[in-house]
Symmetry: D2
Subunit: 137 residues, 4 copies
Amino acid sequence: MSKLTRFTVSLDDGLLERFDEQIKKAGCPTRSKAIADLIGDALVKQEWKTGEEVAAAIIMVFDHHKRGLSTKLTHVQHNYHHLIISSQHIHLDHDNCLEVVIVRGKPEKVQELAERLKATKGVKYASLSAASTGKVL
Amino acid sequence: MSKLTRFTVSLDDGLLERFDEQIKKAGCPTRSKAIADLIGDALVKQEWKTGEEVAAAIIMVFDHHKRGLSTKLTHVQHNYHHLIISSQHIHLDHDNCLEVVIVRGKPEKVQELAERLKATKGVKYASLSAASTGKVL
Amino acid sequence: MSKLTRFTVSLDDGLLERFDEQIKKAGCPTRSKAIADLIGDALVKQEWKTGEEVAAAIIMVFDHHKRGLSTKLTHVQHNYHHLIISSQHIHLDHDNCLEVVIVRGKPEKVQELAERLKATKGVKYASLSAASTGKVL
Amino acid sequence: MSKLTRFTVSLDDGLLERFDEQIKKAGCPTRSKAIADLIGDALVKQEWKTGEEVAAAIIMVFDHHKRGLSTKLTHVQHNYHHLIISSQHIHLDHDNCLEVVIVRGKPEKVQELAERLKATKGVKYASLSAASTGKVL
């Protein structure tokens, strides 16, 4: 575990006041935590542009009645098996399923897998949620 | 399962040509699938602004060594237990964990839960990935 | 002009180190400026959700040969004339024009105007760039 | 001006129904226009990842009382003068100014200029609004 560093920030007092209000609304315990969150978001964005390895969740909605769809999705996932940590399947209703695939790898490969899954006929919705392996955080 | 409707679209030929190139690159099987994807994304965005019920994944990175953190995260999740379908925990390395919480409910409540989890001391990163219960798709 | 307030932040040392690298790359002069920027972005996002008055630019690309298009765009803009501060027109090439409309008003009205302009036949692209009247900054 | 191409799309009837509702709400005149808009947005996103030349607006908020700020902003803009088509200045109130700089060039250079302007001490807010030279549209 890493140590804490203390440093001083000079901020326009009006800006700080409004930031404090927002922190309070969001239920954030301290200014330091709120600032660390903003920095973390900025670093993760940067990591997705230039980084070596990221973590992410790909979230999909599809109709499991669609013939051959499960087989196709399994097939695509197998072609990227080295990226996939695990996946989770939720039955939303009689027709719709939600599948969340947790992945780890190079940003461009992760994006490629998300595109391939989205392009699969029968997948109604797919989106990629960027996260981090935690090394930059 | 729903039926297919056929309809005709008139599009600038240059625009169609460039769209066809992009479809090919993304490995999308047909124009109809590619157009359905764009429409689906637009409807899900709309659903998050005005809809009754959405599905989503909240993805978090944290250091499990942080004292009391697991207890706090469990506590927050219990306060929103009616929203949570399931959650999944991945050990990224010696220190970092990735947790993906799959949720379903009113958009503003889902966003509130994501904010509460993000505001918890020790959580290094949290982001909300919008999805859908599939009803608008 | 407002005064500066000084306060101390405690941050994980690894996180601070990586933030300092990013600050340096972006050519940002001080940590305080970089943190003020992150806070400003967060406050402007919030303002667009809940605020009274925002500023924005609506940027459009269209083909000025399209018959009646200029008249239609002028007509839409007149219906929202109380929002519009000014607009600027650039001839990109023989066919394409770029128009940037600077607006100020309630977030939902500004979004409505952007939608109306985008929906006008002949407008090839339109996007809304969120900014602020500066009061929250 | 380019010709129109007509082609047929097969879409899930429920999805089409909900898309028609959204089109109506946004005041869009035809399905073809609504689909062209979605395609245009997707192509412009792609152009910013891989394209040769884009157009954009950089929108900034700053306090013109800040000593030396105008000089600094002019200086930064001069270093990128080959990118800048024009800029527009609005007096928001006694303190705050809004400046919109319209630019054209390689995506990475445009992003670099936006970063440099944002990093300038005294600039309270800056954001980049992606647009297109119209060639992909």
